[in-house]
């Protein structure tokens, strides 16, 4: 693999892991949603995300050229090899917390995929353009819930505000650029994450204002380092469950 391909491989894992881990988290709601429509909505969004991750993993495997498929990359890597944003591995909590996590990520993902659809790498551009259409729906859905819950009852408002405070420290690293990304940005393949921040801030401010929620202090401590494999303890538990079947019965099919 050339150095550039190696960088692309790692960048694709980042994109794929983001979608897979959030998709898996949302799938935990299947059968447990507060109302039928939301159960279906979260399963639909999970499907979109897992579908997106398949595209990214498959392309990563092609670039690596060692015969690893999407399944190898999803099921046979350790927690320290995963590159997903820490925000996405955070537990679902209550429905409000799930929506806050979704909102914070979708508001970042939408401009990311829009910009990535101009990537010099045609496959990344195509996958991003596809994902953008889906994320647009996801963001609207999460935004509407932010408004409904923030501007709902005292109970819903308090809970959502608390979730916002709890998850805020994981939003900082969305706008960091790893060394891999810096090199890919120079080659017009990846997007400078810091360039997405103003749009993200605008979306967040706009929705929180309508929802009557308060934006947490942006100067506070931010966790970082997921691109190089630093995660919260929650990721290991997700992988233990998600990977148990293929690791116990390698090659299992049904």
């Amino acid at each position: 693999m050339s150095n550039l391909d190696q960088d692309k491989f790692h960048y694709l894992l980042r994109l794929a892991d983001n979608s897979l881990i959030l998709g898996h988290r949302l799938s935990e709601w299947a059968g447990h949603g507060p109302i039928l429509e939301e159960d279906i909505a979260m399963s639909n969004i999970a499907l979109d995300l897992i579908g997106q991750s398949r595209g990214f993993y498959t392309y990563a495997g092609t670039i690596e050229n060692k015969g690893r498929t999407e399944d190898h990359l999803a099921y046979f890597r350790e927690a320290r090899q995963f590159k997903n944003l820490m925000l996405l591995e955070q537990p679902n909590g209550d429905f409000g917390k799930t929506m806050v996590r979704q909102f914070l990520f979708d508001a970042y993902c939408k401009p990311l995929y829009r910009e990535l659809s101009n990537s010099k790498d045609e496959t990344i551009a195509a996958l991003a353009a596809k994902s953008l259409k889906e994320v647009t729906y996801h963001l609207r859905h999460a935004s509407e819930w932010m408004i409904r819950l923030g501007d709902g009852t005292e109970e819903s408002h308090t809970r959502v505000q608390k979730s916002l405070e709890d998850l805020w420290k994981f939003t900082g690293e969305m706008f960091d650029n790893s060394e891999v990304e810096l090199r890919l940005i120079e080659n017009n393949i990846a997007i400078d994450n810091s360039s997405l921040k103003s749009e993200w801030n605008k979306t967040i401010a706009e929705i929180l204002k309508i929802a009557g929620l308060t934006k947490p202090d942006s100067e506070r401590f931010m966790s970082s380092g997921s691109f190089v494999g630093n995660h919260t303890e929650h990721l290991g538990y997700i992988l233990a469950e998600m990977q148990s079947l293929p690791r116990t019965y390698p090659g299992a099919e049904w």
Binding site: E37, E38, I40, L47, L49, A126, A129, K130, K133, R140
Partner: protein, 162 residues
């Protein structure tokens, strides 16, 4: 060996597994049919990244073409250009409506999808009333949303625009 037109005709006999009123060709997921050595190469694109029906469509294509005596069938997934409901013809849209699914509108820009779907005027496919409300943007399949008609007092599905 068959001509590409004939192959497309065969594929047009395969119903969408989730919306059997239209074929997979009418749905727009079959992007290209090429004749190759002793067989056929088909390029497909997913409607939604995670559409669970995609695998079924692939299997259906293999079954259909095998039954016509074609042995070498290559199916390749392409992502660009991304699938859009704009590719559906007027005839296809009418088939959806008759089947009870409100068809997608043409050429909806990104902005109007965000925040305004609830305010979009949606015609009930059963009674034609526009007194309808959006119940959920996510329906029984990835490609549909749920509406309710206040006039005939019943729910219906809408094929989402993307």
């Amino acid at each position: 060996m068959y001509s590409t037109e004939k192959i497309v005709e065969f594929l047009n006999e395969i119903p969408d597994p989730e919306v059997p009123a239209i074929s997979i060709v009418e749905l727009g997921v079959v992007r290209e049919v090429n004749l190759i050595d002793d067989g056929v190469q088909i390029k497909m694109t997913p409607t939604y990244s995670g559409c669970p029906a995609l695998k079924v469509m692939e299997d259906d294509i293999r079954d259909k073409l095998s039954s016509k005596g074609i042995t070498n069938i290559e199916i390749e997934m392409v992502y660009s250009p991304a699938w859009t409901t704009d590719w559906m013809s007027e005839t296809t849209r009418e088939k959806l409506r008759v089947y009870g699914i409100a068809p997608p509108e043409k050429g909806v820009s990104d902005k109007s999808i965000l925040f305004s779907e609830g305010k979009k005027i949606m015609q009930c496919p059963f009674c034609g009333s526009t007194e309808t409300t959006l119940t959920s943007s996510f329906g029984s399949t990835a490609c549909k949303s749920l509406y309710f008609c206040e006039n005939c007092i019943q729910p219906f599905e809408h094929f989402k625009c993307i």
